[in-house]
Structure formats: structure tokens, C-alpha cells
């Protein structure tokens, strides 16, 4: 598969080594990215001129948040091929790591968000030490158990507010600018997680993860430090989810176990990555944007109903049965992938 990829990229098989160093993207792709980034950076600033467009800001903020989460999930679930249904744990960890100091000691989550990410990483490391002793189905099951274990702990301990959670103060900013800091935080998370995903994809580490996904036993025989790589992948895939969780809780002005530690959150991540295309840098981004659009559309069309869950499930089943490579993977296999989406 590695050779195929190299061939598809127009590289000779014997220069696969060069693939381990970050490849220089074409100028055209950089231009697209630069324009996109600039637009995103300036979007909230148009407010005084253009009047209120909170809806769009909120929509983009949420999409950026999911881009960050899907890209992070992809590091473990896409590159290494280890499906985690427990990644919502890291969102919750981040949320509470930021919420508790704010609630009790009035420490701003903008300061603790990174700590939230780091603690999520540490939890990922410890969880990985235990859960990654198994492969395949037992691993997936243990991630589900991990999620429910955390839900239970946070529901039962009064210090964390129990089932009701903690109510947080609103950001001390003028009303017009309430959304802006979260927008930029999520933008940082999205860009950061895509960069991380890109760096991993183009490193020896990423190559090792892909080897693990292909055939773990062979990878191990070939000298890939599989255990270390897997645990590292688990931890890395937790960081930005934790960061995002810290910001999300603050932006909602409350944290509650059933909102954060829920398999519905994990389901979204899985859905986005599978539909967008597992194991590619652009896949989770495409998937996140698509699913957010569908969710928003069905919300407008059907109101707050369960219909979007049905659509999500049906989409997942359809994609798995007919396009297992996802959008980006399928397009690439037919050489229809536009260059600005080709980051692998």
C-alpha cells in the first residue's frame, strides 16, 4: 500500500524514504490554504461593518471544533486502524479540567485549555497502556467501557457537580464579542490538529502506524515499536480533543457529564472520519464539514428531532458497504481528487 501511495504521488518506489520528510506542497495548494486561513481569521472582524451574523460565526466555530476532533481521532482510528469509541472521554476531561478551576477559583479557561489538552493526553497514555494490550474487537469494547466508566465517575462525585454538572460564569466581554474568543480558540485547535495530523502522516512514526494498520504482526517483525507507537498515537489523538473540550464547556457556560461523556460525541467523530476518508489528512476535514452541513440542514428542515441521527446511521452503513474508503479515499482511487485536498 505504501508503494501504491508513492506511485500515486508520482514518486519512484525507491524514494519512499523521502516521503518520511514533510513533502513540499505545490504553491497552488498553499495559495488555497492561505486564502482560506485569511478568510477564517478575518471572519469575526467584519462584525461592526456587516452587522450581526452570530449564526454564521457559531456555525463555523462548531465546524472548526469538529474538524479538530475528527482530525485527532483519525490519528489513532485512521492511521493506526484502532477504532476508539471512547474519545468523548477526552472532550469531557478537557471540559472539566477547565471548568473546575473556573468554578472554584475563577481561573480563566483560556489559560487552562492547554492544560486540559495535556491532561487528556495523560489520560490517553494511561488508558492506552491498559486498552492497547488487546487488538481488534476487545480494544473497541474497552474504549466503550472507558467512556462509561468516566461518565459514572463524574456523575457520582459531588465535587464535579454530580449529574447536574457545573454552571460556569459567562465570558467577561461585551455582548457583541462573546463569540469571538471561542471562534479563534477553535480555529487554533482545527489548524493545530490538521498540522499535527499532517506531521504524523509524513513521519516515520506515521509510516509505522500505517504498517500497524496493515498488519500488526508483520509490522512488529519488521522492527516497528508497535506498542510504543500505538500508545503515543492514542495520547496524541487526545490532546486537541481535550483542548476543544475546555473551550466548548466555557462557551456553553456549563459542563455536564451526560453532555460530554456521551457515545453520541464519539459517534460523530467516527462518522466524520469514515465518511470523509480514513487515514488521510483531508478526509476528516471533509467529513466534518459535510456532517455539520447535513446536521444543520436537517435541523432546519425537520426541527430538533431524531431524524439527523437516523440519517447519520444510514450514511455510515451506506458508506461502509459501498465506499469503504470514504470520500477522499474513493476520489483518490479514481484519480479525481482535487490537488488542494491531497495532503498525503
Amino acid at each position: 500500500m505504501i508503494e501504491d501511495r508513492a506511485a500515486a504521488d508520482g514518486l519512484e518506489p525507491d524514494v519512499v524514504e523521502a516521503d518520511t520528510a514533510p513533502k513540499k506542497p505545490a504553491p497552488y495548494r498553499l495559495l488555497v490554504v492561505a486564502i482560506l486561513l485569511l478568510t477564517l481569521l478575518l471572519l469575526p472582524l467584519g462584525r461592526p461593518v456587516l452587522g450581526s451574523y452570530n449564526y454564521i460565526i457559531l456555525l463555523v466555530t462548531n465546524t472548526l471544533m469538529w474538524v479538530a476532533m475528527a482530525s485527532s481521532w483519525n490519528i489513532l482510528g485512521g492511521y493506526a486502524g484502532y477504532i476508539s469509541l471512547g474519545h468523548a472521554v477526552f472532550l469531557g476531561i478537557g471540559g472539566y479540567v477547565a471548568a473546575v478551576p473556573l468554578f472554584y477559583y475563577d481561573v480563566s479557561p483560556f489559560l487552562t485549555a492547554v492544560v486540559g489538552g495535556l491532561v487528556a493526553m495523560a489520560v490517553g497514555l494511561v488508558a492506552g497502556l491498559i486498552t492497547l494490550r488487546t487488538r481488534g474487537p476487545a480494544f473497541i469494547i474497552s474504549t466503550i467501557a472507558l467512556l462509561f466508566m468516566f461518565l459514572l465517575i463524574f456523575e457520582q462525585i459531588d465535587y464535579f457537580g454530580g449529574t447536574a454538572g457545573l454552571s460556569l460564569p459567562i465570558v467577561p466581554l461585551p455582548r457583541d464579542w462573546l463569540k469571538a474568543p471561542f471562534y479563534y480558540a477553535m480555529l487554533i485547535a482545527a489548524v493545530g490538529s490538521i498540522l499535527l495530523s499532517y506531521r504524523v502522516a509524513h513521519s516515520k512514526f506515521g509510516l509505522g502506524l500505517r504498517a500497524i494498520a496493515e498488519d500488526e504482526t508483520k509490522a512488529e517483525v519488521a522492527g516497528v515499536p508497535t506498542r510504543f507507537y500505538k500508545i503515543l498515537a492514542f495520547a496524541l489523538s487526545a490532546f486537541w480533543v481535550g483542548f476543544v473540550g475546555a473551550m466548548w464547556g466555557y462557551s456553553l457556560s456549563f459542563v455536564r457529564p451526560t453532555l460530554f461523556f456521551t457515545i453520541a460525541i464519539s459517534a460523530q467523530m467516527v462518522l466524520m472520519v469514515i465518511i470523509g476518508g480514513r487515514g488521510s489528512v483531508a478526509g476528516p476535514v471533509v467529513g466534518a464539514i459535510l456532517i455539520m452541513t447535513i446536521n444543520e440542514f436537517s435541523l432546519i428542515q425537520f426541527g430538533a428531532s431524531e431524524i439527523n441521527i437516523v440519517i447519520a446511521g444510514a450514511l455510515l452503513v451506506t458508506v461502509l458497504l459501498f465506499f469503504p474508503l470514504g470520500i477522499v479515499g474513493t476520489l483518490r482511487s479514481r484519480s479525481w481528487l482535487p490537488a488542494f485536498l491531497d495532503w498525503d
Binding site: G81, I130, A145, M149
Partner: protein
């Protein structure tokens, strides 16, 4: 001491029901290597059938298995034919089944939520609030009936696997799929039937859930987490393991609920899962499992 014994009796009754809930799950994995994340949503869907049959037609939940089980059997065979037969032999098959059943679970959950909303339901047959005494020990009648019916169904399942020709085929497929095919077992037919049986067991479980445990659509995730933990503890694909695991965890969680608090019961399941992963990843009675 009497108190502990009393708690242990509650736990055993509960464990008997858990064993039935988990039996279909472990059967699907044992025969077809399907990790069915939708198993609990099958149970919840069946619970809705039993609930409405009781509310509108006055049919006793335990009696309703007479039509729920065949219904779910047909449903299971249909799902297998329509979806799983397509992915047979695909690369990373087990993982595919997880993702596929994940999608199915979300879909059914959404449909249930859309039709029946998210409110708690619980059927209330007369025996729900009754209880009787064996010696000094209190036995809730509803739980007792459910545990006995579970026992009957599990023995029936065992006898079916042990003594019928299809049962031979199923067990052969469990032991070695390729070899079974080689000696003339129609593996596809056996798989479809097994998945049907698995769904039928979910149907019976749902009939019991309808009055034993309050349910709503989203609840199935909590159940699947418990049941999967239990199945991993017993050894994936092992029916014996599922039953033993269910009884152990039923008693253990009842003790924890009694001693620490009602919210902490499920913790036993997750803790047991992590301990078994550390000590013996294949589970109590399981074979080594790889993707």
C-alpha cells in the same frame, strides 16, 4: 451474613437475566465474528414491542416472547442477509462489523426516539410489585420469573446447539469456520440462522427488560457497554463464559450497590473488564482473539 446472602440472591436473579441478555451477543461473535453493537438496541426495540403489547392489548410481557422471538428471528436473518453477507471475507472484517452495527444501532435508536420520544417506559404487570419468601429470604416475583425464563431459554439454546443438526453446524462453525465449510456445513445458512437466533434472544431479553428495567431509546448504549464488558470477561464467543460472567457480575454489582451506592453498580462491570484485560486478555473461557 443473612444480609449478604439476601443481596447475593438479588444478584443471582439479576445475573440470570444478564446471562440471557449477553447470550445472543456472544453467540453472534462466536459464530460469525460479529461484534454486534446493535444488540442492546435490538433488546430495547423488543422492549417497546412488549411494552405496547402490554399497554394496548394486555398481553403479559413474559408471554409476549411467543411472538417477539419469531419476529426478531426473521428480522435477524433479514439483517444478516441484507448487510453482513455483503462484507463476508472483506479485509478487517471484525472491525467492519463493529462499524456497521454501530451505524445500525444509531439508525434504530434514532427511529425509536423519533416514534416513541425519549421518555422512560416500564410495563407494570401485577407481579412487578409482588414478592415471596424462601425461608428468611425475600424473592421479588417479577425478577424470579424472569430469571427462571432466562434459565429455560438458555437450557433450550444449549440443547439446540448440542443435539440438533443445525446446532452441530453452528458449533462446528464456531470452532473452525473454514474446516466446517470443508466438511459440508453451509456456513452462510448457519450464520444467518445464528444471527436470527441471536436477535430472537435479544427479543426475549427485551420482553424482560420491558418490566424489569425502565428504558428509553438512548439507554441501549449503557446496556451494550455492560453486556460487552461481561462478554469480554467471560471470553468473547463463549456461551459458558457469558453465563458465568453474568452471574459473577450480577452478584458483585449487587454487593457494590448495597455497600457503596446505587450509582456505582455498573462500575463493577468496567473494572472487571480492565482487570481481565490486564491479567488475561482472552477472558475466562475465551480463545485468543485477533482482528
Amino acid at each position: 451474613m443473612t444480609e449478604y446472602l439476601q443481596v447475593a440472591i438479588f444478584g443471582l436473579l439479576l445475573g440470570g437475566v444478564y446471562a440471557l441478555f449477553a447470550s445472543g451477543l456472544t453467540l453472534a461473535f462466536g459464530v460469525m465474528r460479529i461484534v454486534n453493537l446493535a444488540h442492546a438496541v435490538f433488546i430495547v426495540a423488543s422492549a417497546y414491542i412488549a411494552f405496547f403489547a402490554f399497554e394496548h392489548l394486555g398481553i403479559d410481557p413474559l408471554l409476549s416472547i411467543v411472538f417477539i422471538m419469531p419476529l426478531m428471528f426473521v428480522f435477524g436473518v433479514g439483517v444478516y442477509m441484507a448487510l453482513f453477507s455483503r462484507i463476508e471475507g472483506s479485509a478487517r472484517y471484525v472491525e467492519m462489523t463493529v462499524l456497521l452495527t454501530f451505524g445500525i444501532a444509531i439508525m434504530i435508536e434514532g427511529l425509536l426516539g423519533w416514534r416513541f420520544t425519549g421518555i422512560f417506559r416500564q410495563a407494570a404487570p401485577g407481579y412487578l410489585t409482588e414478592a415471596f419468601f424462601i425461608g428468611d429470604f425475600l424473592v421479588p416475583t417479577g425478577q424470579f420469573y424472569a430469571a427462571m425464563l432466562s434459565l429455560v431459554l438458555l437450557i433450550g439454546l444449549w440443547a439446540f446447539l448440542r443435539f440438533t443438526r443445525t446446532g452441530y453446524g453452528i458449533r462446528a462453525t464456531m470452532q473452525n469456520r473454514a474446516a466446517a465449510q470443508l466438511v459440508g456445513v453451509n456456513v452462510r445458512r448457519v450464520s444467518a440462522i445464528s444471527f436470527g437466533i441471536s436477535a430472537a434472544l435479544a427479543g426475549a431479553s427485551g420482553a424482560m427488560m420491558s418490566y424489569l428495567f425502565p428504558f428509553f431509546p438512548f439507554r441501549h448504549w449503557q446496556w451494550i457497554a455492560l453486556l460487552l464488558a461481561l462478554v469480554v470477561l467471560g471470553g468473547m464467543g463463549s456461551l459458558k463464559g457469558a453465563v458465568v460472567g453474568a452471574l459473577i457480575l450480577g452478584v458483585a454489582s449487587s454487593l457494590v450497590v448495597d455497600q457503596i451506592g446505587p450509582g456505582w453498580g455498573p462500575m463493577v462491570f468496567y473494572a472487571a473488564l480492565f482487570v481481565i484485560l490486564l491479567v488475561r486478555p482472552r477472558g475466562l473461557f475465551g480463545k485468543e482473539v485477533t482482528a
